[in-house]
């Protein structure tokens, strides 16, 4: 068996850094599946990438496909032979279909029946003859953004500049657009040259000599060790943001880290502003002292060697200086603007064409926040803080700074509010009302921040639903799902037992009062409750609650989110206990029969015909009374299952659907009241007890 190495490199104009790693993995996955599909054996597959290249090196590739010995099964013997013992049409057809003749047929018994078989041998093809198919692998790569260039029809991530395809020392011949494969590759744009790769195994080493580190992990390690060296030499700490490192790594073929400085006076700017200027706009790493204080230095990673580092540093300093002087100008200007002036401007900013201005949104949020702080029995002071924070929650959106750095919304609000003499709690709530900002972020800590966060997110979700912006599939441009999850997480973190349906209803009323959309309150409520239920379902799934238990707690109204989650957890913790199934069956039976009740009328104890009805009634009254007290979910569960023997005895001795209409409807009333009480915990009908 002969083996050779296979090398494929696509040379490109600079790819977007954010797509490089995925594209590399995609290419290597596709080459691998192709080899497997073609039954060409190989030892190892390695992927390489840089801004200008995607490559795979496969070692020990067999020079031919594996031969295939296959056995094909045909019709049963009695069908394959005619009465005269001749081959039937079926047998002839089968053998021909397999590329064989009747002489090749033999019989083999399967489960006591003899069948016709032929064995097939397919000689594996030469790998070299198949390799031009790599062309289709390349053209089938898919990228998040594609482009065309020149006269070409091909859509690709960036224009293809060269193609290197080697099997051993032979070039694999194919062409894409006007680019023909060869054994030539290109080194670093400025430091390297065009070179010939004689053997695939030389790939990494040869390109390194041309100032290209083709292994992205190795490049990353080089950057990290250079950062460490700079840290050591200067007694600094350079916090490494993984996303930034990944991006920087895909912007360079030969990284050299260097540092520059900026004027100390800019340290007066808020840290977030400095860090955003450096990271987002310049892809610099900010520098801190060992005790965590931001220092007037930055580190950048150049695509090149150690030559002329001074010059590069000076150029970068100049750029950062211009940016920071802009930021300082905005900061000073913003400080001159009164909050009232900013609030006035919000009236002129359209949040969404069909939803209205930001000022209108703020009004709705303020109203909802006031209602929430009332329901949560906030102190007068806390109410005042919440209200003021709501009123000015968006004033920083019209600042120069947030216009330049939108990601600083809230951060700047907090800073500016403090400077303009607002209470610390108010300032803090402004920042916190955007939390959780992403899946990893924390929920607001302060009560005012939490109320504001819930109110703002609810208003966004409800007003979006009102105008028909509803997430579906992968479509969720306004990140409404994340915001709904944020509301749920905040309610949980605060352990606030607000009823979610009521919150949604209040928010819907505000939205309808603002004449947003044309939906009725009921329509909105229905859509939103099922939207939130789906979010809760995912949350409970993440907590590994069994699916039918999730369906059970979501089977009636949501009510308090913390309580709902606890109820699910109680069910989950009891589900394997002895007697759980039987208790659920009993409760579920009540709910089933209650569905026959037309409405839930009062129970008339004078109509009881046996003691079991009476016993159940008394039990119901006592359990209901207990449940009305603030009992834990665990106690509530125990109270409910304590009814099991009484329910069982009731059903053994009582016919709910009695002939006499009066009796029947009284019994149904009793079932309905009981079911109502049970369903406040969960709809046990959903629980699988079989």
């Amino acid at each position: 068996m002969n083996k050779k190495d296979l090398l494929l490199e696509i040379g490109l104009e600079e790819m977007p850094a954010r797509f490089v790693t995925n594209s590399m993995n995609q290419l290597s996955d596709k080459v691998k599946s192709w080899l497997l599909e073609k039954k060409i054996s190989f030892d190892e597959i390695r992927a390489f990438s840089s801004p200008r290249r995607l490559a795979v090196l496969v070692t020990g590739v067999d020079t031919a496909q594996a031969d295939i010995n296959e056995e094909a099964k045909g019709p049963a013997k009695k069908i394959a032979l005619t009465e005269d013992g001749e081959w039937s049409k079926a047998a002839v057809g089968f053998s021909r279909g397999q590329g064989a003749s009747v002489e090749d047929i033999y019989f083999k018994e399967i489960n006591g029946v003899e069948y016709v078989h032929v064995s097939k041998f397919i000689k594996g093809q030469e790998t070299a003859a198949l390799l031009p198919e790599l062309k289709e692998i390349i053209t089938s790569l898919s990228f998040p953004k594609n482009m065309r260039w020149a006269n070409q029809e091909l859509r690709f991530i960036r224009p293809i500049k060269w193609l290197m395809a080697l099997f051993g020392d032979e070039v694999i011949p194919f062409a894409i657009t006007y680019v023909q494969t060869s054994n030539m590759t290109r080194g670093h744009r400025f430091l390297g040259e065009e070179i010939k790769i004689a053997n695939p195994a030389d790939y990494e080493k040869s390109l390194l000599a041309q100032y290209v580190i083709t292994n992205p992990e190795e490049r990353k390690r080089a950057i990290l060790s250079q950062l460490e060296k700079i840290e050591e030499e200067n007694d600094w700490m350079i916090p490494v943001d993984e996303d930034l490192l990944e991006e920087v790594n895909n912007l360079v073929e030969y990284p050299t880290a260097l540092y520059g400085r900026f004027e100390e006076e800019y340290l007066e700017l808020p840290e977030e502003v400095l860090i955003t200027s450096m990271k987002e706009h310049q892809r610099y790493f900010p520098v801190k002292s060992k005790d965590g204080k931001l220092l007037p230095f930055f580190v950048t990673v150049r695509n090149g060697s150690h030559e002329h580092l001074e010059k590069v540093a000076r150029g970068n300093e100049k750029v950062l200086r211009a940016r920071l002087s802009d930021a300082a100008f905005f900061y000073r200007e913003d400080q001159k603007t009164d909050i009232t002036v900013s609030l006035e401007k919000l009236k002129n900013i359209v949040y969404h064409e069909e939803i209205g201005t930001l000022a209108e949104k703020v009004d709705r949020v303020r109203k909802l926040a006031a209602k929430l702080s009332e329901d949560l029995h906030f102190s007068d002071e806390a109410k005042a803080v919440t209200d003021r924070a709501a009123e000015i929650s968006k004033f920083d959106l019209v600042s120069h700074m947030v216009y330049e750095f939108p990601e600083l919304q809230g951060f700047m609000g907090e800073k500016y509010a403090l400077q303009k003499g607002e209470k610390e709690a108010v300032a803090r709530a402004i920042n916190e009302h955007y939390m959780p900002r992403n899946a990893e972020d924390k929920t607001p800590e302060s009560d005012a921040g939490a109320v504001l966060s819930i109110a703002e997110k609810l208003d966004t979700i409800v007003s979006s639903f009102a105008i028909g912006i509803i997430p579906s599939g992968s479509q969720d441009p306004y990140a409404l799902r994340r915001q709904a999850t944020g509301v749920i997480q905040t309610l949980l973190a605060k352990n606030w037992n607000l009823k979610l349906e009521e919150l949604i209803a209040m928010s819907s009323e505000n939205v309808i009062d603002s004449k947003i959309g044309k939906k009725s309150k009921d329509e909105l409520l229905q859509e939103l409750v099922s939207f939130f239920k789906l979010r809760l379902k995912y949350l409970l799934q993440e907590k590994a609650v069994r699916y039918d238990l999730i369906e059970a707690v979501l089977g009636s109204e949501i009510g308090s989110v913390p309580s709902l989650v606890k109820r699910a957890e109680v069910l989950e913790s009891h589900k394997d206990n002895e007697g759980f199934k039987e208790s659920m069956e009993a409760l579920s039976r009540v709910i089933s029969i209650a569905s026959k009740a037309k409405d839930k009328g009062d129970i008339d104890s004078s109509l009881f015909e046996n003691e079991y009805e009476k016993a159940l009634f008394n039990k119901y009254l006592s359990v209901n009374e207990e449940l009305r007290k603030e009992v834990t979910e665990e106690s509530a569960f125990n109270l409910l299952i304590s009814m099991k023997p009484v329910i069982d005895e009731y059903f053994e001795n009582t016919m709910v659907m009695a002939d006499k209409q009066e009796i029947r409807s009284n019994r149904l009333n009793q079932m309905a009241n009981l079911a109502d009480m049970i369903k406040q915990f969960a709809n046990m009908n959903e629980i699988i007890v079989k």
Partner: protein, 296 residues
Amino acid sequence: MNIQNMILTLQKHWSEQGCILMQAYDTEKGAGTMSPYTFLRAIGPEPWNVAYVEPSRRPADGRYGENPNRLYQHHQFQVIMKPSPDNIQELYLESLKALGINPLEHDIRFVEDNWENPSLGCAGLGWEVWLDGMEITQFTYFQQVGGLECKPVSVEITYGIERLASYIQDKENVFDLEWTEGFTVRDIFLQPEYEHSKYTFETSDQEMLFNLFNIYEKEAHRQMDEGLVHPAYDYVLKCSHTFNLLDARGAISVTERTGYIARCRNLARKVAKTFYEEREKLGFPILKDKEEGSHE
């Protein structure tokens, strides 16, 4: 190197690559892309290689000549090549060398930057070119212009003249840049910067501007209906500049803004379509001329 020599150098470089050297187009515009030499000529199958300096007016960026980095009017050096040549990045890097920028002494990078101008129905993919962290050039492969798919694709290279000069001349303040020996940007442009800023933010007649917008828009449509693309396009440019003046003045509320942008976009799309049809009627003459001696 002063700005005048930079321009001469770039002109010489791109002229040697077969570009027609054009002069700035004489109607106000916000970017070199809006010149008919780019916007219209990027449409359709005819080849087109051109380079020109475009003074670009951005009323909202006016700072009364007081800000060291922002200008009411700055200059772009614009290159369009259609179809985009295979070695366009190399040609561009050579132009930097011609300007005295040795890539080995700097950090030059092509950083993803996709360009979209919804008001012109334009979209392109490409990069901003970084020189030691400073964005000095926009490099774009047009994919769509005026709502029409680009076939073949043009490449657009836009140098920010003042940006680049501030690097080459190592100046912190744009007004200190030397235009030519004995003349700085301050000498030539400070007064107009101040006056245009004052006009834009304080003294412009809003009512007149609103009226003009409507008049220009109507005339653009009327001329397009006549199949007169170029006069129509001049009025589209006037609409766009008038809108920019009103917008900078804060005269257009956010709600109205969307409406005005949509009106500009409709005009641009209609012009693009009309231009294509008119060239088609003429049999795409440049395509015919070039076909005889054409490469691939």
